[in-house]
Every structure is written in C-alpha cells, then in structure tokens.
C-alpha cells in the first residue's frame, strides 16, 4: 500500500501541563536524588553517613564544657564531650594575638570600618561612599599601629597634592600626559623629601593627635590574618591585571619581565618566599634599615598571589573572542580605553571563579606565617597547647579556627556567586 505523504494540520494542539511526576517535590526528588538505581543507592548511603557523623558530633558539641579551668578538669567531668573552655579562656588571644588588652578597641574598630569600607566596592549602589574605601587603608594603619595621626595623613596630603598638581598641569598648560606625570612625580618627591617632615612636626605641635604605638610583633590572631589577607587581596588584584596585560603585550621587554616574574614566583613555594622575607631580606638591606616584618610578609604574599592572579586573568583574556578587540579598535578606542571599557570587564567576569579561588587560597595561606613565628591563629594554637593547662587539646581549637576561616571564605564564595548571577547578561 502506498503511504500518503501529504498532510495538513487542521486542529492546533494547545500546550498542556507536564505530568505530576515531573513537577513539584516529587519531580525534584526524582530528578535529583533518585534518577537512577546508582543515584538512589548513593543518596541512601550519603544520608546514612551524614546521620552517623551528626549522631556523634551533635552530643559532643552540644554538651561541651565552656567554663572549666583546664583540660584536666574537662576530662574529669565528662571525657566524651567537647572542652570549649579553652576558647572561653583564650578567645581574646585568638582574635588579637599579643595586642595590648587595653587597646583591643582599636583592631575591633578597624575591623568594623573594614566592613564599611568594602561595601562601596562590593555593591556599586553605594559607590558614592567610595571615598571612605580610599581613606580606610591609612585609617587602618593608624588605628592598628598607632603613632602620630599626622605622619599617616601626610601621605594622603602629599599624594592628593601631587594628583592636583598633575591635573592642573594637564588642564592649563600641557597636553602631554607623560611629561605632566614626570613633573607631578618630581613635585611629590620633593614634598616627601623636604616638606613633609617639618610639616608633620609642626602639626604635631599645633594639634597633637596620636595613639600609643604597637609594634608589629604584637599583632596576632585573626587580626594578623586579616591584615595580611585583606592587604594581599586588595594589592594583588591590580598587580595581577597589569601582569596579565604585560604578558600579552607586543613590547618584548615588558612581556619578558612579566613572564619571568610570573614563572619565577609560581615556581617557588610560598614558604620559601616567607623565609626570604623573614630572614634573608635583612642581609640584603643596608644595616639599620627597619623594614617591618608584617610589611615584608604582606609584600611577599601579595607578589605570590599576584602571579597566580595574572594567570587566572590571562585565562579570561584568552577566553574573549578576537572580535571584541577588533570591534573596539574599529570604533577608534585607544588601547587603554578598550582594555578598561571592553576587554577587562568581560575578562574579569569570565575569571570571577578563578579570582575568588585565588583570594580564598591567599587568605588561607596567611596561616603559613606561623612558620616564621608570627602569631596567626594556627601559630597561637601551638602556643596555647604548650600551656600546661591546655596541653593535649586539639579538636576544639582547630574546629574554632577552621570555623572562623570558613566564615570568611564562604562569604567570599557567596559573593562571587552573587556577582556571577548579577553580571549574567545573556538571558
């Protein structure tokens, strides 16, 4: 029999609802937990393991002691539950290290200001408060280390004057940015070499504002982790961008310097760099140079993660179609304009997961400073355990330290996911 191939639809088929097993709770369970035999077995096993772990952990944590005087006392009361008393006794040390107790308000205030200062950076809606983010680094340094208010402010004053000088040069006299920049640089240098010191002296006499000085070796605990971590994150990001651009540059010298730097830093363990910072650097610097240990560590950590950052961003740059460069060039945008307006926004967006990954890695790597005997939380844990009263305690301390790190890292991860959702423009 011959098949009839001609066909004309006479009646439209209206769209109808999907079957009940595909939607709602049942649909979700079927799709996600019981989609096949293997999946169902894995689901049941996972639930079993979670229950087993929580079965032990919850009574251990929930029944824990908070107010004993030593580990011995805890064990005498009930050896099967947690002994959180070590946290009760030593939490201040975990947060502030050896920072003088009467000055605890300073790191605390610095931390609260930090939360305020990052808001304009994280949420463009509050960008009008960005001035605070600019003031913050100086404010934080002054609050943490103390000393004269003016010796920090003078840095801001000098840089502002330099910038104003540069701008007014460009507005009135010069069109050449390079010459204006060199002149402004000289102006700023003269200011810092000859004018700033007498000026600070004068201001100290007229209006003495100062805080007691706290030396770097007293910094410790999470204060130290945050100092190193936040500074490292903030500084390594722009350096990473420049290195990534430099690595793609057509100028052979710049390219070679960037490639050499990145490959060298990536090829060396962070611990080695930290040892260089803590021990070797002093041999190379002229005797008597007082080069702050925390600053040295921050520089090393920054350079280390800048190299990784550069590679992550290079990945993002490579992910952009050539057409984007061509389109922005064909519109007459200059190299820097097109980098800033077209290329970087997209490359950075592609690299968000990698960038945040590097940030999180950097933040956790700050615990390595315990190796060069700085007192970060992990270093302090050893110190605390060396105390006879708490000798033998492991879980409680490390769980608490881990939890603190987790909160920060999880926060960063959540923000990165929020950012990815927000910047999604294709749907």
């Amino acid at each position: 029999m011959m098949t009839k191939i001609a066909f004309v639809r006479k009646k439209e088929i209206p769209p109808s609802a999907p079957p009940i097993t595909e939607v709602g709770l049942i649909g979700w369970l079927r799709q996600n937990l019981f989609s096949s035999w293997l999946n169902s077995i894995l689901t049941v096993l996972s639930v079993y393991f979670i229950v087993v772990i929580l079965w032990d952990f919850i009574p251990w944590a929930y029944g824990g002691h908070w107010n004993t005087k030593s580990l011995r006392e805890c064990l005498d009361l009930d050896p099967d539950v947690a002994c959180f008393s070590v946290l009760t006794a030593r939490w201040k040390q975990l947060l502030f290290g050896l920072y003088p107790a009467e000055e605890y308000w300073r790191p605390t205030l610095t931390f609260m200001f930090l939360l305020l200062a990052i808001v304009p950076i994280l949420f463009p809606r509050f960008f009008r408060f960005f001035w605070f983010s600019i003031i913050y680094p100086g404010l934080a340094v002054w609050l943490l280390w103390g000393g004269s208010f003016w010796s920090i402010s003078i840095v801001y004053i000098g840089l502002t004057l330099g910038a104003l000088f540069f701008l007014s040069l460009i507005r009135r006299y010069l069109k050449n940015y390079m010459v204006a920049a060199i002149l402004a640089f000289l102006f700023t240098a003269v200011f810092f070499l000859f004018i700033s010191n007498p000026l600070v002296g004068l201001l100290n006499v007229i209006l003495p504002i100062s805080l007691p000085f706290v030396e770097s070796l007293k910094m410790g605990g999470f204060t130290l982790s945050l100092i190193v971590g936040v500074t490292g994150i903030v500084a390594s990001f722009p350096i990473g961008i420049l290195l990534a651009l430099g690595r793609q540059s057509n100028l052979p010298v710049i390219k070679m310097i960037c490639v050499g730097f990145i490959e060298f830093i990536r090829g060396v363990p962070l611990i080695t760099l930290l040892f260089v910072a803590s021990v070797l650097l002093n041999y190379f610097l002229p005797p008597g140079t007082n080069f702050d240990i925390v600053l040295r560590v921050v520089i090393m950590v920054t350079l280390f993660s800048a190299a990784y950052m550069a590679e992550v961003i290079r990945g993002g740059l490579a992910g952009l179609p050539l057409g984007q460069h061509e389109a922005s060039a064909s519109l007459g945008l200059t190299y820097w304009q097109s980098q800033r307006l077209i290329i970087m926004p997209q490359a950075l967006k592609i690299s968000i997961p990698g960038i945040v990954n590097t940030f999180i890695g950097l933040f956790k790597d700050t615990t390595l400073v315990s190796i060069i005997s700085l007192r970060d939380p992990v270093g302090l844990a050893s110190t605390i355990r060396a105390d006879q009263k708490w000798n033998g305690i492991y879980w409680e301390l490390y769980v608490a330290i881990g939890l603190m790190f987790f909160i920060f890292c999880w926060g960063m991860s959540q923000y990165s996911q929020y950012l990815e959702r927000k910047l999604k423009t294709d749907k």
Partner: protein
Amino acid sequence: MEKTKINITDEVAIHISDMNKWFGNFHVLRDINLEVRRGERIVVCGPSGSGKSTLIRCINRLEEHQKGSIIVDGTELTTDLKNIDKIRSEVGMVFQHFNLFPHLTTLENCTLAPMWVRETPEKEATEIAMEMLEKVKIPEQAHKYPGQLSGGQQQRVAIARSLCMKPRIMLFDEVTSALDPEMIKEVLDTMIQLAEEGMTMICVTHEMGFARQVADRVIFMDDGQIVEQNEPEEFFKKPKSDRTKLFLSQILGH
C-alpha cells in the same frame, strides 16, 4: 527598484596604490590599486581566501599592509597611532559575527564610542544613539543586552553602533553570512537605506541581489588580486575574465 544615482563626487575618500600584504610567507594581497570616491558604493566579491576581507580590514588598519600606500580621507595610514585612531573613528566597520559588546546594553553599545572617543556628553550621545536605533528599526530593544536579541537584530545594532560615530565611510565584512535566511533581508534593507542616503560604502558580500540593486561598482578578487571590476549590469551580464565567469556560475548557478 530603480537604483538611486546620487551624489558620487569627485572627492577621493579612499586611495590605495600598489598595496601589498603578506601573512608570513603567504602573499595575501598583491598590487592592489583602488580609488573610492565619496558617495560611492562598492561591492567586493570573490571566492573564500581571495583576500577581500583582508583588503577592507587594511583600510582601518585591523591588518597592517607591508608595501604601498593607503590614504583614507586624506590621511595616510602609517604606524602613527594617532592617525590610526583618527581614521578608525571616521571609518565605521560591521563584522560577520556582529562583535557587539555583550556586557553592555544595546544603548550602551551605541553610546560608548561617541562618549569616550568624541567626548560627546552622555545626553547627546544617547539622543544620537536612539536616533540611529530608530533608523535600524529597533529602538524598543535599547535596554536589552545583545545576548537577548536575534542575529538580525544584533547585526542591525552593530550597524547603528558604527553610525553613532557619524562615520564618513562604512565597511561591511560579510555581514549577512552568519545570519539565518529569514534575517538576511532586514539587515540588507538597512544597508540599502544607508546606500540611498549617500554613504560611502565598501561591502564584502555574496548577496548578488544587493550588489545589483545598490552597487556603483562590483570588484571581483581572486588570489589576492583584483581580477575584474565593472558596473554591476555589465559585471553580471558580460563578465570578461574566465575566473569571474566560473565564480558567477558557481554562486548564481543553482
């Protein structure tokens, strides 16, 4: 439709003489001589690999030529970055794959270059952009992102984006090749409209209907050389070179 014969002037818009280009050892453009007058509409065709895209990409220095000279609007293309940026801001280009900026809305795509290159105030740039988006008939998509538009719409936005710079010359590089058949017409209509307004245009395309309708001159390229050029009527009816005949039979044959 009657072709509008308007305002081709004697003024030279683009002057290319003895231009040569190599990709490594590959001699991609050979002794190109071409003079385009203001208001002229030129269609460049030829088999793939014939160098036609490279030719128009040399005109705004997306590719660098190694010998000969290219003078655009009285300015010679040299390694001087200032000249290059100046020429690029005078010469609009539309690409096969649109190359819209996906992180900016349609409107922002259009206002970006005027604001940063021409330093047009935002309000004025927005007005120009809306005017151009209306011209390409998609003002209602102004606040959408390129990823939310169809291919034809994206290509029209790309045209509008170039027009916002008020270019004196437009280059079209196979702008309909990546489009679904039902979207080709809307883009061609926009280009025809531009042609009728007297824009100086060089179009690399295989749309022979378009060439017949708007071109003042059709150039056929093969192996990096200009093989034949003529008015469209003559070009299609009585091609002189065998290579042209073969090419035309291949693309018009079915």
